[in-house]
Symmetry: C2
Subunit: 292 residues, 2 copies
């Protein structure tokens, strides 16, 4: 971690110097709470401190109003958004069928380019997804509680409008937090509203999808298939009916793995150091009074 | 096709009108050469004609200098670039292993976000790839004959520098035309120059890769794996050794399929009609004298 973050700082054009001369500090260990205040106080010339990870609960009480604090907020959403695009491309370009072939398969596949995608959820994952997918010129409908427009979305609608919002989708992606309101949101009625060739992706939680309704839709071929990074239960037990479908791809909760976190944080640090050197606004600013 | 292009024109905000009143014409059938001049002459108010597909050999002699002509030039490279990203994501996010699992697999995968990618080839596919991958903040090295810089590439180097250019790559993607110079470019020496966890992707031609050298590298585990949309021979025969590797994914020459072409052309037509209405420069302009 030390090596990766050192390289990020240097790549951005800054130098690594002794703490007493540092204008900015990159704090790498969220667990080393005991040394935190002492070392920060030693960095008398520093006006900005970059903290690791998205959650800074352990350090929140030790922050002050004399520094600008930033953290890894929003960094990890990119890994999950990458999974969303991986799942869409795997589904659209027939990768599971090709991966299982042991003989030259028939051609197939359709494009994600210009496709109609409906996201259930308008939070951090949706934001990252919209940023990554931007050059692909997709028609993206975001369904979110408030219906408040999301930059980059073709349109944003409220949860009540979800049935219409999936009506001509090539794929529907669940990227919601699990709440009482969203539990089981992918039910018989929503699955029935999707076109027969529409794929369902889930990177939220297993309980967003009613398994029995999904299995019924797969059996009736009223959806195109499913790519599931989360299941109910998890791990999905051996012999579960979802293992049996050619048009179901299950990934073992890998939207974001611990190994993916470090390079993403390093990229954030590099970007923030660049911004710092240019005098631009930093990403992931912490509201000290709010504690996050 | 008529339906898709009509919808594209309307989506861009233009109207479909009788030929005699048209300000612009979208010509959909490259084979209907016999009616071409007669119908174009009938469109006396038209100053722009959009032609289909990238190659317009059959119509080239019938064009004049009284109209602005555009064609589908560059449209289809996007489908192949989409395959390149599909292959990268499939490899990096362990999709073949997950697709073959019938029981909850161990977690795995790494990010394409921020990865080091080396492209062998700096033509239309590389251009499309660079445009689509832009938000992913990859470090992209392009190897091309001339070494002339390509917009969006982190660096561009000459073919002679290819061994250094793959030395720290996470993946090497062949997106070259097949010429005597590029035949067998992925040989023992180039494979040896790649890191042990580097993936090889081929969307060029099967003969770009020396099979025996690739098989040796796979057996010695000196590369991470391979994703091949083209093989030598093609189709790859049953029982070919390449079918036997867990870390090889073969797709049956689907970088761009005929079915993918129409929506891509429709998207181009829509974009060009929008540009036409705004008075902006059109995409895919034909040089009438050069004939392409």
């Amino acid at each position: 971690m030390h090596q990766a973050l050192t390289a990020a700082v240097k790549a951005a054009g800054a130098e690594i110097v002794p703490l007493a001369h540092a204008e900015a500090v990159v704090w790498a260990d969220p667990a080393a709470v005991g040394m935190f205040r002492e070392l920060i106080d030693e960095a008398t010339a520093a006006s900005w401190v970059q903290l690791p990870y998205a959650g800074i609960e352990s350090l929140a009480d030790l922050l002050d109003n004399d520094h600008k604090w930033t953290c890894g907020k929003g960094v990890y959403a990119d890994a999950c958004a990458e999974w969303m695009i991986t799942g869409l491309l795997a589904a659209f370009r027939d990768i599971p069928r090709f991966a299982r072939a042991t003989s030259w398969p028939r051609q197939g596949g359709r494009n994600l380019l210009g496709a109609k995608i409906t996201l259930l959820g308008g939070g951090g994952l949706a934001e990252s997804f919209l940023r990554l997918i931007e050059p692909w010129q997709c028609d993206v409908t975001v369904v979110r509680r408030t219906g408040e427009p999301l930059p980059g979305a073709t349109r944003t609608v409220t949860a009540e409008q979800r049935f219409a919002a999936v009506g001509d989708a090539d794929a529907v992606v669940v990227c919601l937090a699990l709440t009482p309101e969203t539990t089981g949101i992918v039910d018989r009625e929503l699955l029935a509203a999707m076109p027969d060739d529409c794929w369902l992706l889930n990177v939220g939680r297993g309980l967003h999808v009613r398994n029995a309704d999904l299995l019924a839709a797969l059996d009736a071929a009223t959806i195109g298939g499913a790519v599931l990074d989360v299941t109910d239960p998890e791990p999905l037990p051996d012999g579960h009916p979802l293992w049996a479908y050619d048009n179901v791809l299950i990934t073992p909760h890998v939207g974001n793995t611990p190994e993916m976190g470090l390079p993403l944080l390093a990229a954030r640090v590099e970007e923030n150091v660049r911004r710092w050197l240019r005098g631009d606004e930093l990403l992931g600013g912490v509201d000290v009074d709010a504690g996050y």
